[in-house]
Amino acid sequence: MADSGGDLAIAVEGLTKSYGSFVAVGGIDFEVRRGEVMALLGPNGAGKTTSVEILEGYRKRDAGRVSVLGVDPERRPRSLRVKVGIVLQECAVDPYLTVAEAVTQRAGLYPSPRPVGEVVELVGLEEKARSRVKTLSGGQQRRLDLGLALVGDPELIFLDEPTTGFDPSARREAWDVVRGLCAEGRTVVLTTHYMDEAQALADTVVVIAAGRVVASGSPDTLGGRDHGETTVRFVLPAGCGIGDLPLPAGLAPVTRGEFVEFRIAEPTAVLHTLTGWAVGRGEPLEGLAVNRPTLEDVYLSLTDSQDRPDSQDRVEDRGAGPRAAPADDPAAAGTGAAGTEPGPAR
């Protein structure tokens, strides 16, 4: 048995893959530490699925070095397959078996599976254990799929868009399952289109665009997000012009409809002055919002600023949306456009 990769669950160096003349993956490098949740983000066609399927052993690479739990996945050794759980985008279970049968069948393929009842409970399908798979809702089938990937007690789990199509509460439950896996020391590789999902779950985010890694880091620091300027926005008080506001020179406030907004690196002093001024006038600052750039803002500017002329506007709009008052429920805002996001959830 080869050494099992040390601290690294996954190491990728110079990975390339082309289909004919189309370069799907153009030389990427990244690492995933054991016990970590890594989120792979990127637009459709960026090379996410190709990369993940190379790691899963479904595809052969053209060049580069890939190590999964210390093994080259291309040879698909059984010793690796018993340690890896995979959830693909398609739900793939025999429709005529019951939930319990499907899980039991899968458990029988592994040397030391988790108890079937425990897995069924973990994905919240106890009441459906005796129902045939074809009678489950789409979300329930996805949860069964997740359970099937977990029944072998894997060290490493690949989740390809695991919560697509889930309602908000089902997504929250799925997130709890993923957090539980990490708490048990398992490694998770996640692809997702939901920035709030990456924000809530990932220790590390790797953004791929056009077959290359354009950024990687923690969700809080990705793309200089922690150094990005804060946007302050509020309704211009009646009877005031922009020139009447007690703002320091050098700021460039702009009006957007009835709102005025400006960007500033460090807003504390300005807010103090501004709110003191408003209190002194005896009028509140309607719609006051103070927003850091969201992960989605950073992601959009990283991935599509070149090929979409309007993207800059969208980034601004989303970063400074009027509803972006300090929000504490990222799931409620499916686009991830909520203003203040919770820190790393674990």
């Binding site: 899963e56 059984r78 693909l88 793939a92 025999d94 069948q105 899968r106 045939r132 072998g152």
Partner: protein, 253 residues
């Protein structure tokens, strides 16, 4: 994990799923039995030229062949096409199961279906049409086995040219029905006829002829080396084609 043990478990789950899906069983079991009852009772007692079997007895053997092809070729091709399209095959490939255990489970389940079919169809023949218990039972079993191998192999091979699950019935049956029709499954062919010369190129007629000879009394072992040989050539070609071209992933991906 013991591959054989896993394959045995797979057979169990394949059987569970098979009998819960009534559509798959219709062609394998219902059609041969209904055809046997309808045609058998009206076929009269004259003998099929070149054999010692009556028309109704010939129909028993022909329906055994029809059901065997449905159980092996049609059901296997449909099951694999659907599973590939829905991603089941891809998922299985990511688990520790060996290819042998997985297909062993599928084919083991097919074996059980053919055994049930043989008992039912031959039982009806013996009970109602005075079909004699095979004079060469070993030859019948071996011929059935070669038939199972051949039509399972062809079922696997046809999945290579099935583009997606929606097209599967058209492709699978589009190949199957004309050949079954010209091969004397529904009515015996006379030797040397144009139809029989065309049918001789395909395995279906050879399976019928070999089984008829094994059921009949006669000298020797009852084994028809020539007929079995043609089937095995088809089986080998189908397996080579499958091994080279089989795809696990949904083709639309």
């Amino acid at each position: 994990m013991n591959d054989l043990l896993v394959a045995k478990e797979q057979v169990r789950y394949e059987q569970l799923a098979y009998w819960r899906n009534p559509m798959a069983a219709v062609f394998t079991f219902m059609f041969p039995i209904v055809f046997l009852i309808v045609v058998g009772t009206s076929a009269g007692s004259s003998r099929v030229p070149g054999t010692t079997l009556r028309y109704d007895q010939y129909t028993v053997v022909a329906m055994l062949v029809f059901g065997l092809i449905a159980a092996c070729y049609t059901n296997l091709a449909m099951a694999i096409s659907l599973r590939r399209d829905s991603g089941v095959l891809k998922r299985m490939r990511g688990t520790p199961i060996s290819i042998g255990s997985y297909f062993g489970g599928l084919i083991g389940s097919v074996l059980i279906n053919v055994a049930i079919l043989a008992v039912v169809v031959v039982g009806i023949g013996m009970a109602f049409y005075h079909l004699h218990f095979p004079y060469h039972p070993a030859a019948v079993l071996l011929t059935l086995l070669v038939g199972i191998v051949t039509f399972c192999a062809l079922g696997l091979a046809v999945t290579v040219i099935v583009p997606n699950a929606d097209a599967a019935p058209a492709v699978v049956n589009g190949i199957y029905f004309p050949i079954v029709f010209i091969s004397g499954v529904f009515y015996p062919l006379s030797d040397g006829s144009v139809l029989s010369r065309i049918a001789d190129w395909f395995p279906v007629r050879h399976l019928i002829l070999a089984l008829v000879r094994a059921f009949e009394g006669g000298p020797g072992s009852g084994l028809q080396a020539g007929d079995l040989g043609v089937m095995l050539i088809w089986a080998a070609a189908a397996l080579v084609f499958t091994a080279r071209r089989f795809k696990w992933d949904p083709k639309h991906k």
